[in-house]
Symmetry: C2
Subunit: 309 residues, 2 copies
């Protein structure tokens, strides 16, 4: 019987990446992912080995694989896990915290846990219920909460860099959503690196060029246990819908997803798409409760959200 | 039994346009299309009743409906039909010429016919065969031939404006193709109006905001006979594929196609997408055979194509 052969050694391949016309065996794939990650870190000037890095871990395949890869590459990376209080009938937050904690423990890495319901007296679904944000408000409130806490932990711990496990499918889906609606504000912000600014660590996404199936394969093949479920609140979200649209396109046109994203990055680089970084002038004020930079007088959006009666 | 009611008169509607939340009966739909066309002509400053307009007619629903609407609105419009010599087992060019000629005759409108095989000794499929353009070369060569002849006829006849029947599906499909590949050159040129320049008439697309099903409904309901077939060479083309992708999206998200296109036009208008018109400096030279403006020394691409042995 014919089987795919690893391009590097001719042994039996475990994965074929059609967009790269590349098939690899398990050992070479487990080498390839860190090599490529290192290449992306350099190419986009994400960070150096002298910087203190914080990775936001969710307990899923992307963030745990990212932490594993950065650790293997010798970067100085601690983790933060944000317990959102999501149950959804599958005990989602508790289970994912367990995976994050086990991962950190097994490698003797530092993990800080921030428990939203314990600290703020309400779960993210409860906070979402209390707002007037429309459809998709759970995801929108969750995003606000996570951004706030990540910024706070990075700031308090003097981390220069905050990394997240966004993969190419995440980035391409967000890009597709921003493009199909021509959300020019969002298109200007969607880069690989968001520069640091007073009160904000630099933010970057070292896995942004890997397909989701590659980060999943990395986690499985390196034996990293992770939570398989999607967040129960994301079911039916625009983000999952756009991923599905792009996957159908990819099926018919291998590589289209990667080229869509890389073409966008090139269009940014050549100035066709203007870039917008965090403007210190816009974030000139500080929230009287949390002291984070904010664009308005009074409480920041996060403190307004959690201080609601 | 329940049926859709016309929003204007309450009679039985013949069409529902979900993107506008609008259902109309036959008489009101046949009024609505010209009203909207007039609105678009003014909104995008396409042309006035004092200008001499040339419409490129293919014998299909879009261009014949457009000619009909502009004629009813009192614009001064002649037609040009380009016989490309496409047979494809359905006698495509001959049949579509017959529809164009019958339309012009029935309304006593002027139609100029340019017969490519008679003038240049080869059909467009034959010209395409003779080139080294890759996949999709028939469509690419056909585009080159049509642009050249339209420009020539407009120039020779002192037409200030050249209009084509491109509908929203055509424009959104082209935009989708240019966006999914971030073809920044093409994105800069894809406006509603391409300004006149020395040797070139102004070009515009008065139907660019109507869905294909609306132009088809207009042709059917006004009793305009037209060729139903798609060009046999377009089967399997990227353009039809992107239309299909967008129709699947539209099915699930009524209005997404229109909003995608209008969002793009807004992004152009506010300067987010740079606009590129025909640059007289770039087209500074004239082809020694046809005298059309060209970007290079020597023959223009069209004359190079048809002068090939």
């Amino acid at each position: 019987m014919n089987y795919m052969k690893c391009k590097k050694c001719g042994e039996k391949a475990v994965i074929k990446m059609r967009q790269h016309k590349l098939a690899l065996c398990k050992p070479h794939f487990l080498e390839w992912i860190p090599e490529q990650t290192e290449r992306f870190i350099k190419k986009y000037a994400m960070f150096s080995r002298h910087e203190k890095i914080l990775v936001a871990v969710s307990g899923g395949k992307d963030s745990l694989s990212l932490w594993d890869v950065l650790w293997r590459l010798g970067y100085s990376v601690d983790g933060v896990y944000i317990h959102l209080g999501v149950d959804g009938g599958v005990n989602y937050s508790a289970v994912s915290e367990k995976y994050a904690a086990e991962f950190a423990h097994s490698r003797a890495l530092g993990l800080q846990v921030v428990n939203v319901p314990q600290i703020y007296g309400a779960t993210v679904p409860e906070l979402a219920e209390s707002t007037s944000r429309g459809q998709g408000r759970a995801c929108s409130v969750c995003g606000l909460v996570k951004r706030h806490i990540m910024n706070q932990v990075a700031y308090d711990g003097n981390y220069q860099v905050l990394v997240t496990g966004h993969n190419l499918d995440d980035e391409a889906a967000a890009l597709f959503g921003n493009t199909i609606t021509w959300s020019t504000e969002m298109l200007q912000r969607q880069g690989v690196v968001l520069k640091e600014a007073p009160g904000f660590a630099r933010k970057t996404k070292p896995f942004c060029r890997f397909y989701e199936r590659e980060t999943a394969a990395y986690a499985l093949l390196s034996g990293i246990p992770y939570i398989y479920d999607e967040c129960p609140f994301s079911i039916g979200s625009k983000s999952l819908y756009y991923k599905d649209v792009l996957n159908r396109l990819e099926e018919e046109n291998p590589g289209i997803k990667l080229n869509f994203y890389l073409g966008f990055l090139r269009a940014r680089e050549c100035g066709f798409i203007p870039q917008k970084d965090v403007s210190p002038e816009r974030y000139a004020q500080r929230c009287p409760i949390c002291n984070q930079p904010t664009t308005t007088d009074g409480l920041c959006s996060f403190c307004r959200l959690v201080s609601r009666e």
